[in-house]
Symmetry: C2
């Protein structure tokens, strides 16, 4: 089975399906991406804890960087002057940037949201900035990313229907302006909003899906809604997205969330969970999560996850990693990040294999049962 969008900026081929789960391939100027894919987050042009050599060894085909952070530090001008984000970081595979919208609304102090754009104060130094759809696309294109995101307003949790609708309509107008603003070679994805209101999500999916974006994302599902509402919105919205383009669920999630997303037909994910948890000492295993500081690992000679083949699990024990973590050693963050990022990437490999072999349904059931029942601490 082969189909999908083909533009000079990005190609998408659907290779197989298993139920609603999709196996695909995205083509970019920086290589091919097998989907479903998880994108490790490199907020400030660095996947926290890893050098680019270490990251390369883990094998991600695409990473995400944050426009908000990069526009503030080191600044888009510098990244452009240094030859773009790939050359600046030495990362030679694909890069997706978000539009800055989500962080403007979640990290900065917002001065004013108006039709033109958002005036905000930097969380770093309080300096004032203005970001419009045109600015956001300009910044992303100047950084030379493979996939840019349209600038959207991400409504906070708890707004009423009229407020969410009004915000969604502005996101739609900003989506059109984002498309009109583009001049460069970055692919551009639109973002569906609409909170937890099915009719708004439907309208948004139809509107955004009707525009000539190379891919479509579901936004606003990791903004503090209860997990079930998030999953419900995702399950409702995913099948409404165009089938011929990559579908991206922004900012999600746990291993179980990824499996549920794939089951609903999502192709792309990103989340800070594996990297942030790593620095906090929370490690993923096939039998659930493990808090490495726990005294029960003091003399545990097993690797973090005996079923894992990552560079950390191949070389060091729980006891050693626990010691490093308790001692506050930088190497603890590094070993943990290597493990968690590998875990997420390996999960996606296993998901893709199961779709290819038409066994995703049983893979999904087993994974959910295992992680619900498992106790890696025993």
């Amino acid at each position: 089975m082969t189909s999908g969008v083909s533009s000079p900026r990005l190609t998408f081929q659907l290779l197989a399906t298993d139920g609603d789960a999709r196996l695909g391939q995205i083509g970019t100027a920086h290589g091919t991406i097998s989907t479903p894919v998880f994108m490790p987050v490199g907020t400030a042009a660095s996947v926290k804890g890893l050098t680019m050599d270490q990251l390369r060894e883990l094998g991600p085909e695409i990473i995400l960087c944050n426009t908000y952070h990069l526009m503030l530090r080191p600044g888009a001008d510098l990244v452009e002057e240094m030859g773009g984000l790939h050359r600046f970081t030495s990362w030679d595979r694909a890069i997706l940037t978000d539009s800055g919208g989500f962080q403007v609304f979640s990290l900065s102090e917002i001065r004013k949201v108006r039709e033109e754009g958002v005036e905000f104060q930097s969380h770093l130094d309080g300096s004032r900035h203005f970001l419009s759809p045109e600015d956001s696309i300009g910044i992303q294109e100047r950084m030379g990313v493979d996939i840019a995101m349209a600038f959207d307003e991400c409504p906070r949790s708890g707004l009423d229907r009229a407020e969410v609708e009004s915000s969604m309509e502005m996101t739609h107008r900003w989506a059109e302006r984002s498309l009109r603003a583009r001049k460069g070679s970055s692919a551009l994805f639109g973002i569906v909003q609409g909170g937890t209101f099915p009719d708004l999500r439907r309208r948004s999916a139809e509107f955004i899906g009707g525009l000539p974006f190379e891919g479509v994302a579901i936004g606003g599902v990791s903004v503090g809604e209860p997990k079930e509402a998030m999953l419900e919105t995702m399950r409702f919205t995913a099948p409404l997205l165009p089938a011929d383009r990559p579908r991206y669920l922004m900012g999600v999630g746990t291993p179980e969330d990824l499996v549920e997303g794939v089951a609903a037909g999502i192709d792309m994910f990103d989340c800070v969970m594996p990297t942030r948890n790593a620095r906090n000492g929370t490690l993923f295993t096939r039998k659930g999560k493990l808090a490495i500081k726990n005294a029960r690992y003091r003399a545990d000679e097993r690797p973090i996850d005996p079923e894992c083949g990552c560079p950390t699990c191949r070389t060091v024990s729980r006891a050693y990693v626990r010691h490093l973590f308790v001692a506050g050693e930088i190497a603890a963050a590094v070993y943990n990040t290597v493990h968690n990022v590998w875990f997420y990437l390996d999960l996606m490999r296993r998901i893709r294999q199961s779709i290819a072999s038409k066994s995703f349904g049983s893979f999904r059931r087993e994974l959910l049962a295992e992680s619900a029942a498992g106790d890696p601490e025993v």
Copy 2:
């Protein structure tokens, strides 16, 4: 030229000399060490900032760990239970531990120094501990290190002659007790003290050199003495040490200090300078030191040191490393540590080559002139 000590615990061969500079080889159960050698410091069983895989790639043949830190956390019992320090850390090359003496006197609150040993409070949690020569040797042997150090008293700077002499005499008695205490397969090095008093240093060198240690160290030269006094003491003491055994200058120093040490006939060095400076953003180059946070590197596309072949300099620019450092990214510490440790190891390679080719004298003059005149910031 081949000569030197040969015990079941350690062998030393002197391969060549150039003036007083010595090219040699130390044999241990965990491989051969080419001397003069610099030992990166892995205080708490981790060279700060690096995984063991990253460290291996940089190629040190021996690292140093601190008995004081390890006895407090994770404890010698645990390290022994985990199969020793090599197995615990996954480091399969040689390990030297200090005796704990230096840190007891520099980090902890000392309760009481008496003939038997030292009672002290942990700098971590105030818990009380006691360390005697017998304890120190026992801990080091139980951790299974290749080279253990005798337990010494390291007198602080500024003591008068009588105080230093009295301290030195206790160090001598502790040296004999350290030797009597050993039961295992670790080699044991003695430590020469005596402050900045030439006659005391001579007495100490003769006394310690007369005992059946596999190597002899100069202690007490990095305890706050002015640089010139340190170099003078080292130059005076080094030739008094037995020529048939490795000579180790503890806790020293800058690249220039290492060259001066080699010129005086020293074979082994350790210092936290490359790793600590890395975390502070101070980077070594062949033309002197560079503070990476400096704004002049904001858009500098050159590697940290254009003459360096380390993994950092092969992949990323000053501009990128500066960005990571300013942003507080963990990767900055990692990139910087990789570079600085490589710089030190590469310096020792160049020193060894120059001794082998009988050009150490000109190498030394050029290095000292270059680092005095150089400005890596231009």
